[in-house]
Structure formats: structure tokens, C-alpha cells
């Protein structure tokens, strides 16, 4: 498999080293590997895998959050109910829609911003901070601000549209616009985050590559196409992956701005889980949704990896 092939490649280099036999070295390295993993592994087992395992067990039970002592084993009941629950399908659709739009748009914008600020301009630092400022303002704060910006009557955005002669829009109050409004705000809020990662990647591309290219007469677009993008390939894969993962977890924005409405057009799976588990206190049902959600997300990540590998 992949790992063993890499291992052989690695092992081939220090073969000349005489102090330690290959075998002993390998064993020592494995021990070091495990001990490097240990602290993080323990913490993650205890505070992520274990609670998730508990959620998995709870998925087969029915209990009121207020009465964990009255837990009843119910087999597949929750799952059977889930697959007949129209809200589940609605939430799934909304989550996928949000992800499908936000991932390319946000990553594209972030790459563009990173390119804009990867230059030796006088005000570069100021621009970077401007793009990053929504990221460092917490989402709770941002969502509250944008409720007022999106106000259908006298919000700042509508005032601006009005000045341009465009009729006022209902935004969050319209089933057709609510999700797109949340998408716009989310892209605005988080693009700076991906920009930082792209920027780190851009800074790592050796200047000599560009110098060589411009001596060969490549224009700026060709440099972007043939040097920047290919050099960033790993970073792009990484950014797409984490953005997808963040996007499918969409929660805070609809929670604060729309609470899933109007007409359930902004209800996402995470919001659905929260509402069932905490508000309605159906802890068993909420756990079952969490498990299905997790499976969907895993499938999505595999799909993404496959798509990116095929390229």
C-alpha cells in the first residue's frame, strides 16, 4: 500500500548509515512515532472519540435529555423514523446546497485575496487586516450585525440598492433569498481565513521560479496558470477539504439569523440536531441524526478526495 512504498523509499536513503541496523532504526522510529502520537491521541480519544461513541450508542435508544436515567433501548426506531421525516431531507438538501456554493466561491475569493495581498505594496498589511477582520470578529457578533444590514425595510444594503434604483429585497425574510443571503455573509466572514492559508502557501513558492518564467517571457496570467496554481496544489486540496468540513457544519448563522426559516429553507443538519437534542430534548433521536450526519460527511469527504485525485 501507499505507506509501505513510502517507507521503502525513506528507508533506502539511510541504508549507508552504519551505527544502527535498519531494523533497529525502524523499530526506534516506530516507538518514537507512537510516543509523539500519545498525548494528542489520549486527549482525542477521551474528548472526541468517546463522546462520539456514546452518541452512537444513544442513537439506538429513546430518552428525554432531562431524564437520562429512563433510557430505553429501542433498536432502529430512531433511524426508521428519521428516514420518513421530511425535515431530515430538507435539512440535508440545505446543507448540501450551502456546501456546494460556499466551497468554490469562498475558496476562489480567498485565493484572489491572497494574490492581491501577496505583493510588496505600501498598504499590504492594512489590506490583509481588513480581509481578516471579519474572521477575528466572532460569528455571533457578525450574524447580529448582518441581521440589521439585511433589514428588508431600512437595512444598509437595501438603502444602497435603493440609491442605485434597485427595488428593496426581503433577504432573510424570503424563502428564495434567505439561504443565499446566509451564503453571501458566510463567504464574506470566512474568506479571510482561507486567504491566510493560501498566503502561507504563496509565500513558500520560490521566487526563482517566477524569475525564470519571466525571463522565458511568461506574462502574469501564464505565471499564475503554470507556476502559482500547480505549486499550490497541496494547499488547495487542504483548503477545499477544510472549507467543506466547515461548510457542512453550518450552524451559528441560521441559528442566530433565521432559526431555520422561512419555510425551513435555512434549516441545516447541525441546526436540526441541536433543535431535536437541546430544544426538544429528544436525545436519542438527536444522536441518531448525528450518526447519519457523520456518515454523510464521511462519504462527502471521500467523494471530494476522489474528485481531487482524478484531476
Amino acid at each position: 500500500m501507499n505507506g509501505t512504498m513510502q517507507g521503502e523509499a525513506m528507508a533506502s536513503a539511510p541504508r549507508s548509515h552504519k551505527m544502527l541496523s535498519l531494523r533497529k532504526r525502524k523499530r526506534q522510529e516506530a516507538i518514537m512515532g507512537y510516543s509523539f502520537l500519545l498525548p494528542a491521541g489520549l486527549l482525542i480519544t477521551l474528548f472526541l472519540i468517546l463522546p462520539f461513541g456514546l452518541a452512537f450508542v444513544f442513537g439506538f435508544t429513546r430518552f428525554n435529555l432531562l431524564r437520562p436515567d429512563q433510557i430505553e433501548f429501542r433498536g432502529l426506531e430512531n433511524y426508521l423514523f428519521l428516514f420518513t421525516d421530511p425535515l431530515f431531507y430538507r435539512s440535508l438538501y440545505n446543507t448540501l446546497y450551502f456546501t456546494a456554493i460556499v466551497v468554490p466561491v469562498q475558496c476562489g475569493l480567498a485565493l484572489m485575496l491572497a494574490l492581491l495581498v501577496n505583493q510588496k505594496l505600501r498598504l499590504t498589511n492594512l489590506f490583509r487586516i481588513a480581509y481578516f477582520s471579519p474572521v477575528i470578529t466572532s460569528m455571533t457578533v457578525i450574524a447580529i450585525l448582518w441581521i440589521y444590514l439585511y433589514n428588508p425595510n431600512d437595512g444598509l444594503i437595501n438603502s444602497f440598492l435603493h440609491a442605485l434604483g434597485i427595488p428593496k429585497q426581503p433577504f432573510l425574510r424570503s424563502p428564495d433569498q434567505a439561504m443565499n443571503s446566509i451564503i453571501l455573509m458566510s463567504v464574506w466572514q470566512a474568506a479571510g481565513y482561507q486567504m491566510m492559508i493560501f498566503l502561507a502557501g504563496l509565500q513558500g513558492i520560490p521566487k526563482e521560479l517566477y524569475e525564470a518564467a519571466s525571463m522565458d517571457g511568461a506574462n502574469r496570467f501564464q505565471q499564475l496558470r503554470y507556476i502559482t496554481i500547480p505549486s499550490l496544489y497541496n494547499v488547495i486540496v487542504f483548503v477545499l477539504t477544510i472549507t467543506t468540513i466547515q461548510a457542512v457544519k453550518l450552524f451559528t448563522q441560521p441559528y442566530i439569523m433565521t432559526n431555520g426559516g422561512p419555510e425551513n429553507t435555512t434549516r441545516t443538519l447541525a441546526l436540526f440536531i441541536y433543535q431535536q437534542g437541546f430544544q426538544f430534548r429528544n436525545a436519542g433521536y438527536a444522536s441518531a441524526i448525528s450518526v447519519v450526519f457523520f456518515i454523510i460527511v464521511v462519504l462527502l469527504s471521500f467523494l471530494l478526495r476522489k474528485l481531487l485525485r482524478d484531476r
Binding site: T45, I49, L50, G53, L54, V57, R62, N64, L65, L66, R67, P68, F81, Y148, N151, P152, N153, D154, G155, P170, R173, S174, P175, I256, T258, N259, G260, G261, P262, E263, N264, Q275, F278, Q279, F280, R281, N282
Partner: protein
């Protein structure tokens, strides 16, 4: 490989469940030891009390009440209050849920009126009937008893009452020669109110006919269920088992259609700025008594109060309900906890709290010490609270009801189909009730 991981995972789950159980067990035995130790009278009993954080005036009231309690019970009881941040509508409830899950509830817990049934059905608060005489109970306004009672037992004592009235902008009313009613039997009907809104709304000057908060929280059910009641129905059956035929009944649809009409004709602003009425941009405002404090920052605003509008075919009614205090089933010192509950809701404190935060008192006797309530405009509030107000439905599935009802109303106001939205509320509620609460 996979099998091995499954085994490890399962083993880990088992381990934590066992640890969890045993530690919970030892936790409660510790508590018992502590309570055994207090039998000797040397140590005062410590009573813990949780309540959600509120505004400055209310917080201050509780601090003073707790201080006075501790002075009066020096050497016997120490009351420790913890103020829980209540950032969103559910943060306090989330914390209660978590505490229930881990058996760490305080002795005395504040809870919102409509949660009484759910908490009582889950057995996390205990009935208080044996600690209150009939005479004591009779002094509370009827809606306080109604909201605190579940399955015939009394569980939680209201700290104050609340009411929603129709505020009006005097200048705008005078401009149009409108005189709002000052007698409860002359309260505006929906049609009369609609007529007032039609006349006063002035889009050119940015003035709306009315202002009603359309938040995504409890307000929707709190305020708008009354439209159903006034029209001769309710949003669930009286015993709380069924919503079908109630929330989506003929009368219910009529009530929803009335609200939809106001939204369609843009007689109110679906997304009002928080200070719309205060700035003179709304002729009337369906609002709570707590709004009065905010009016004071606007000296130009001349306001009056009239009754909650009623259905042309039905009775006058008004919202009610408020936070109450109950005693948790985790409490090891029930007698002392009762002492605390009675102290917090006694006549003096009821009156003091009512005055501090501009809300109606929960006790009839407390009204006597607040003369403002005998004169207009505050008389309107007193009349509503003591005669016509209705508590929200008492049902253990209330969380689902209020959430789905609020969602449906907002959808209707922004254009969704009335019948199918209400049908969905009925369907989801009945399903939930059958799944989790039917015998």
C-alpha cells in the same frame, strides 16, 4: 483492524458508562452525608438557587432579596444565588438540561412558566401543594396558579406576572381624531384595530400602523396564541394531548388570516428596528409592560395604553406568564428550600420586583401597595392580569409546540400558505406527543 477498533471503542464506552454511574452514585451519597451532618444544628443549611441574568434593576432586586433572606435566617440557612448568563432564548434551559443530566441541579431553580409541565413531567421539580395553604394560593392571580399547575398539582410559584397591551402614540391618535378605549368591555376588536392601522399608516413618512416584535423565540407563542383563544379555540386541546383540530381549526385559520392580512398590507414592519415605536414610526405597538422602561429615553414620545385587541366574535383575553421558582428533586433540604420560595414570592418581594422592573405583580395583595395600577394607563394592565389573562398551554411537549407554532407564524407572515403551515404544526406536535408522552 476494524474489528479491533470496534472492540476498543466499545470497551472505552463501557468503561466511561461504569465510571459515570459509580461516580454519580458516590456523588449523591456525599450529599447525603452532608445533609446528615446538618442534623446537629451547628452548621447552617446551604440552599443553592439558579436564575437567569436579567437587566440591572432585576438583578439588583434579587441581590437585595437574597441579602435580606440571609440576614433574616442567620445561622439557619445560607442562600447562595447563582446568576446564569442568558445569551439566547435557550442558553439557560441548556444549562438546566446539562445539570439534570449530571444530577447537579440547585435546590431552588427559576424556570419560565411554560416549562413547568415539561419539568414536572420529567420529575425534575417537586409538587409544592403540601407546603402552601389554600389561603396562600388564593392570593396569587389566577394565571399564576394556572401556569404552575400540572396534572392537578402545583409545582412552581410565579415571581411576577406579565402582560401584553396595545401601546399607542398619542400624537398620531390625536392627528386622526382616534380615541382608544379605556373600558375593558369596549376593547378594540381586530376589525377596529385594523381600521385604526389603515388610517394611521403612512408609508411616505415611514409610519407603520403597528409594531409587534417578531423574534424567533418565545414571544410568538406568548403573544399570538391569544388570537386563537380570543377567537374561541386554542393551539392545543386543554389536556395538551392534541393540536389537530385546534391550531388548524376553522377559528385558528381565521386568526392566522387576520395576522397575514396585516403583514400583506404592510401595516406592520416584519423586521422593525428595536426603537421604531419610540421614534414615532409606529402608531401602535403590541408590547409588554417591560417596554415602558425603554420609553423613558424618548421624551418626545407621548404614549398611552389600551387593551389587547379581541376577536369580533370572541372574548377579551391577554397573554400572561412569567418566570417562576420551583424546587428540584435533587434538593436534600426541601423544608429550607420552601422557605426560600416563599420568601422570594411573598407580598413585599412581589411588590418590590413589580415596581423595580415595571411588570404586574403575581399577588393580588401586592397590587394594593402599587397605587399606579389604579390609574390609567397602568389600570389597563391590572385589569387584564387579574381578570382576563390566559397562561400558555400546559403540556410536556411545549418545547415542540412553541417552536413549531412560532416558525409557522413567521412563515405565514412572510407569505406561506396558512392552512398547510398550521396543518404541519398540528402534525408535528401530535407526532411528538404520541412518540414521547402518550401513556
Amino acid at each position: 483492524m476494524n474489528m479491533r477498533w470496534m472492540k476498543i471503542l466499545l470497551a472505552a464506552i463501557m468503561a466511561v458508562t461504569i465510571i459515570g454511574c459509580s461516580s454519580n452514585g458516590s456523588g449523591s451519597s456525599e450529599n447525603q452525608e452532608a445533609s446528615g451532618g446538618t442534623g446537629g444544628s451547628a452548621e447552617p443549611v446551604e440552599i443553592t438557587f439558579w436564575r437567569p441574568q436579567a437587566d440591572e434593576a432585576e438583578d439588583q432586586f434579587y441581590q437585595e432579596a437574597v441579602k435580606a433572606f440571609n440576614e433574616a435566617h442567620e445561622g439557619k440557612i445560607v442562600l447562595k444565588m447563582e446568576t446564569v448568563t442568558r445569551g439566547n432564548s435557550f442558553a439557560y434551559e441548556d444549562k438546566i438540561n446539562a445539570a439534570v443530566a449530571s444530577n447537579t441541579l440547585p435546590d431552588v431553580v427559576a424556570l419560565d412558566g411554560p416549562n413547568v409541565a415539561n419539568y414536572a413531567a420529567s420529575g425534575i421539580i417537586i409538587p409544592l401543594d403540601e407546603y402552601f395553604t389554600q389561603e396562600e394560593l388564593d392570593d396569587f392571580v389566577p394565571s399564576i396558579i394556572q401556569q404552575g399547575t400540572y396534572n392537578g398539582k402545583f409545582y412552581a410559584v410565579g415571581l411576577n406576572e406579565s402582560s401584553v397591551v396595545l401601546f399607542y402614540n398619542k400624537k398620531i391618535m390625536d392627528e386622526h381624531g382616534i380615541v382608544p378605549p379605556t373600558e375593558i368591555d369596549k376593547a378594540w376588536t381586530w376589525d377596529e384595530w385594523y381600521d385604526v392601522m389603515k388610517r394611521t399608516a403612512d408609508p411616505d413618512r415611514g409610519i407603520f400602523g403597528t409594531n409587534m416584535i417578531n423574534d424567533k423565540g418565545e414571544w410568538m407563542t406568548y403573544a399570538f396564541e391569544q388570537f386563537w383563544i380570543s377567537n374561541g379555540t386554542d393551539i392545543v386541546s386543554e389536556d395538551g394531548t392534541k393540536a389537530e383540530g385546534y391550531v388548524n381549526s376553522e377559528q385558528g385559520i381565521e386568526a392566522a388570516n387576520f395576522l397575514k392580512k396585516l403583514a400583506d398590507e404592510k401595516l406592520f414592519n416584519i423586521d422593525p428596528t428595536p426603537t421604531e415605536f419610540e421614534e414615532g414610526k409606529a402608531a401602535t405597538k403590541l408590547g409588554g409592560t417591560w417596554n415602558i422602561t425603554g420609553f423613558e429615553a424618548y421624551p418626545d414620545l407621548e404614549w398611552g395604553i389600551t387593551y389587547f385587541p379581541r376577536s369580533p366574535k370572541g372574548q377579551v383575553t391577554s397573554p400572561s406568564g412569567s418566570w417562576a421558582v420551583g424546587i428540584s428533586s435533587n434538593s436534600k433540604h426541601v423544608a429550607e428550600a420552601v422557605e426560600v420560595v416563599k420568601w422570594l414570592t411573598n407580598k413585599e418581594n412581589s411588590a418590590r420586583l413589580a415596581k423595580a422592573i415595571n411588570v404586574p405583580a403575581s399577588r393580588k395583595s401586592a397590587f394594593e401597595s402599587i397605587p399606579e395600577y389604579n390609574e390609567l394607563p397602568m389600570r389597563v394592565i391590572k385589569e387584564q392580569v387579574t381578570t382576563v389573562s390566559h397562561a400558555r398551554p400546559v403540556t410536556p411537549a411545549y418545547p415542540v409546540l412553541t417552536q413549531k407554532f412560532a416558525e409557522a407564524l413567521i412563515d405565514i407572515m412572510v407569505g406561506a400558505d396558512v392552512k398547510s403551515s398550521l396543518d404541519n404544526v398540528a402534525k408535528v406536535y401530535d407526532q411528538e406527543y404520541a412518540r414521547n408522552f402518550a401513556e
